[in-house]
């Protein structure tokens, strides 16, 4: 049974995974069932636990400069990728439906993971050409990684840390404030 606090947790990202604690088999089975039910929406499905491979992906993820939005910037990698379990669902294209279905599948996975006591994260800002090279033995040369091909991390949070703590950089990144409610209308 998901609670609002679990949905609140899903809205925040995790940068401080405990890499010594793998995701348990029970949750992995649930995640695989969700992916299997949606598999027709994806041309490739990667479920990764190999630390060396995950480190390679981390090394091709440069945080974008969004200082124009008021977010302080310095060059660094995206530590949301440093999860014990990393998923990549590759949609069939850049169209709305493909991107929407990738998000929807991750939405189901995310709340299932949080309900099981885990934390989640996302990474959109990796270098798609370099990532494709990492998966060169799996992805056909003529294929590419569309915009909706976004990594999702799942794992336990490291002891005595906050989810926003970037353990590699010894840095805490602030969360964005809630969206204005002026976009919400409830009619009686």
């Amino acid at each position: 049974m998901t609670t609002l606090s679990q949905h609140e947790q899903f809205s925040h990202t995790t940068r401080s995974y405990d890499l010594t604690r793998p995701v348990d088999e029970n949750l992995k089975a649930k995640i695989n069932r969700i992916i299997d039910a949606n598999k027709d929406n994806f041309q490739y499905i990667f479920v990764l636990e190999d630390k060396d491979l995950i480190e390679k992906i981390y090394n091709v993820s440069d945080i974008p400069d969004e200082s124009s939005l008021g977010i302080p910037y310095f060059p660094r990698k995206n530590s949301q990728l440093l999860a014990p379990l990393l998923l990549l669902l590759v949609p069939h294209g850049n169209d709305q439906y493909s991107s929407y279905m990738a998000g929807k599948t991750y939405g189901h996975i995310g709340l299932t993971a949080i309900d099981a006591g885990y934390y989640t994260s996302f990474c959109i800002c990796y270098d798609r050409e370099k990532a494709k090279a990492i998966f060169a033995d799996k992805i056909a040369p003529t294929h590419w990684l569309p915009l909706g091909a976004i990594f999702m991390g799942v794992g336990h949070i490291a002891p005595d840390t906050m989810p926003q703590t970037d353990l590699r950089q010894n840095l805490i990144t602030s969360s964005v404030s809630k969206a204005s409610r002026e976009y919400i209308t409830v009619l009686d």
Binding site: M1, T2, L4, H7, E8, F10, S11, H12, T13, S68, L69, N94, D95, Q96, Y97, S99, Y100, M101, A102, G103, K104, T105, Y106, G107, H108, I109, G110, L111, T112, D115, F122, I124, P146, L147, G148, I150, S175, V176, S177, K178, A179, S180, R181, Y183, I184, T185, V186, L187, D188
Partner: protein
């Protein structure tokens, strides 16, 4: 009915989209038992202007709307609430409408 819709509105409001400065225009109608969700493109385009082209913005917004709806469906199914989900993908940003049954 209204209480369920308010919970649904809250779940959409809590979705990860806000971390990406993508906002949804949500309208709940208790009399009809419906919840409509559109991407608030004016806000989104204003705050996320820059190197992103329209197709990138639409893909990002579509992904985040999917995230919100996936997490909302988890809640609806956990609560054993029957619903019908309409998803529209014709041109521009996608839209969804949930009707409680």
């Amino acid at each position: 009915m209204k209480q369920i819709l308010q919970q649904m509105v809250e779940i959409i409001h809590l979705s990860p989209a806000r971390q990406a400065q993508i906002y949804f225009k949500v309208e709940a109608d208790a009399a009809r038992g419906t919840l409509s969700v559109n991407t608030a493109t004016d806000y989104f385009l204003e705050e996320r202007s820059g190197p992103r082209d329209d197709s990138t913005k639409i893909a990002e917004a579509s992904f985040h709307l999917g995230l919100a709806m996936g997490s909302l469906e988890e809640w609806l199914q956990d609560e054993r609430i029957n619903y019908n989900l309409e998803e529209a993908f014709k041109g521009g940003y996608p839209r969804v409408k949930v009707t409680l049954l």
